[in-house]
């Protein structure tokens, strides 16, 4: 127990990195999710197909494979392009960037399905009514689709977010000093791997439990106007 206290700084630092990574990748994921949902629902066939390929391809391949591919391969691609076009000098992708972008893009595919389902759950008549009173596409989205979409998307969103928090643990494999990495290093140097891995387990459990609680409250707030069956 004393040893854990001695290494508390590493655990706290690691936890902060994990939280930053999760939040940063969430922003990317939501952007990709909205884009993907628009693509899937649009009447443009090319946008439709691209969104389809995006979600199928990303959901068919394990996250760790993509993280490794982006971290080791992405650097080479970017530098080859840079060399060929002279647009930029040698770029180094750090672990945080690689992890954030990859996890963001991966979960964007899952949010795509969530958002698509939520938009489709909105009764068509309401959108038609919006058009009928003279709203343009943006106003329809802002006043009719968006507020209801949040309500319909929240349950799926919560599920995805909980999986996403857990997925961030994988970036320790490419050497980002997140919670798992720091706990592992501390455990190995003190020969107390069980205790330190257990500590990181508990911290992850706290993170998912708190998110779960907050999202349940949020869900209750947004579905106030709904009759629960």
């Amino acid at each position: 127990m004393n040893l854990i206290w001695e290494y508390r700084q590493q655990l706290v630092d690691g936890t902060l990195v994990t939280i930053q990574l999760a939040l940063a990748s969430l922003i990317i994921a939501i952007l990709f999710g909205l884009l993907g949902a628009m693509g899937k629902l649009s009447s443009n066939r090319i946008a439709n197909m691209m969104a389809g390929i995006y979600t199928t391809a990303v959901r068919g391949v394990p996250d760790l494979v993509l993280i490794l591919l982006v971290f080791y391969g992405g650097q080479e691609i970017i530098n080859t392009i840079g060399k060929a076009t002279d647009w930029w000098k040698y770029v180094e992708i750090n672990q945080f960037m690689a992890g954030t972008c990859t996890i963001g893009v991966i979960f964007g595919a899952y949010y795509t399905e969530t958002f698509r389902g939520a938009i489709m759950a909105i009764p068509k008549g309401q959108i038609e009514a919006g058009v009928a009173v003279g709203m343009n596409k943006f106003l329809v989205f802002r006043h009719i689709i968006w507020p209801q979409m949040i309500r319909y998307a929240l349950p799926g969103f919560s599920n995805n977010w909980l999986v996403q928090i857990k997925t961030t643990a994988l970036v320790s494999v490419i050497g980002l000093q997140d919670l798992v990495y720091n706990a592992f290093v501390a455990g190995r140097s003190t020969h107390l791997l069980f205790i330190f891995m257990f500590a990181s387990l508990v911290i992850f459990l706290l993170m998912t439990a708190i998110s779960d609680l907050l999202l349940t409250l949020l869900n209750r707030k947004y579905s106030k106007g709904m009759v629960r069956t």
Partner: protein
């Protein structure tokens, strides 16, 4: 003249090699390793799914029984395993248990816990059992009340009811969610490569490390996983067509 001895397949590979910036020949030459990796991945995934399912059925029944002691205990178990990353669970078992001298001295250590394969299997099984328990619990809870009442009225005992009415319909209702769990488990099995096992990704990482490459191993692994996922979705579509016919 050496050109002539090449088979058309080898010529095709040479051609692909010349237009793609990838070392296709290396992948072909090491493809037997990848096949072996697919074997390890499938072995771990399928075994853990089967054992996990067998564990999950009684746990789901107990969890839905609202038993005063069993139900909360199982809830705790599923909550912990569903709320934490599989990577950490695997590390905890593979690296963590070696911390305790009494485990290292016991017979379990030599035969089971010192092997990465067994540790991966144990971690994966406990993980998928937790998810499957919750999924079946949901399906059991969704059993139409009338079916249960009819079973009681026709004189079924508690276990007769579960065996003949509740579980068969719950299993059917759980098929779509379970197909997701199978794919999640396959995706999760890449964790095995982080504890030295040569699964698909493990072979990919080995290839990249050995020949100092950036893409070849990972891209091959990605394509193989994609193919497996495609196969799984196909199988489940067939299963659903068969067992959920009355709903379509």
């Amino acid at each position: 003249m050496a050109e002539k001895t090449l088979s058309s397949f080898e010529k095709f590979i040479k051609y692909i090699d010349s237009i793609l910036p990838l070392e296709i020949e290396l992948i072909i030459n090491n493809f037997d390793r990848f096949i072996y990796g697919v074997g390890i991945t499938l072995e771990l995934t399928i075994l853990s799914l089967i054992i996990g399912f067998l564990l999950a059925v009684p746990m789901a029944v107990a969890r839905s029984s609202q038993h005063a002691i069993l139900s909360p205990i199982i809830w705790c178990y599923t909550y912990v395993f569903r709320g934490t990353p599989l990577l950490v669970q695997t590390y905890l078992i593979y690296y963590g248990l070696g911390q305790f001298q009494f485990i290292k001295n016991s017979w379990v250590w030599d035969s089971i816990l010192s092997s990465a394969w067994w540790c991966a299997l144990i971690a994966f099984t406990l993980n998928t059992a937790a998810y499957t328990t919750e999924l079946l619990h949901g399906a059991i809870n969704d059993t139409p009340k009338g079916e249960v009442e009819a079973a009681i009225a026709s004189g079924h005992s508690y276990f007769g009811r579960i065996r003949r009415i509740i579980l068969p319909s719950a299993f059917r209702r759980a098929i779509p969610a379970y197909s997701n769990e199978v794919i999640f488990m396959l995706h999760g099995s890449v964790v095995a490569s982080t504890i030295t096992l040569q699964d698909v990704l493990g072979v990919g990482r080995w290839l990249n490390g050995r020949y100092y490459l950036a893409y070849e191993g990972f891209i091959t692994a990605a394509l193989l996983y994609f193919a497996i996922v495609f196969g799984i979705t196909r199988i489940f579509r067939m299963v659903e067509r068969k067992y959920l016919k009355y709903l379509q």
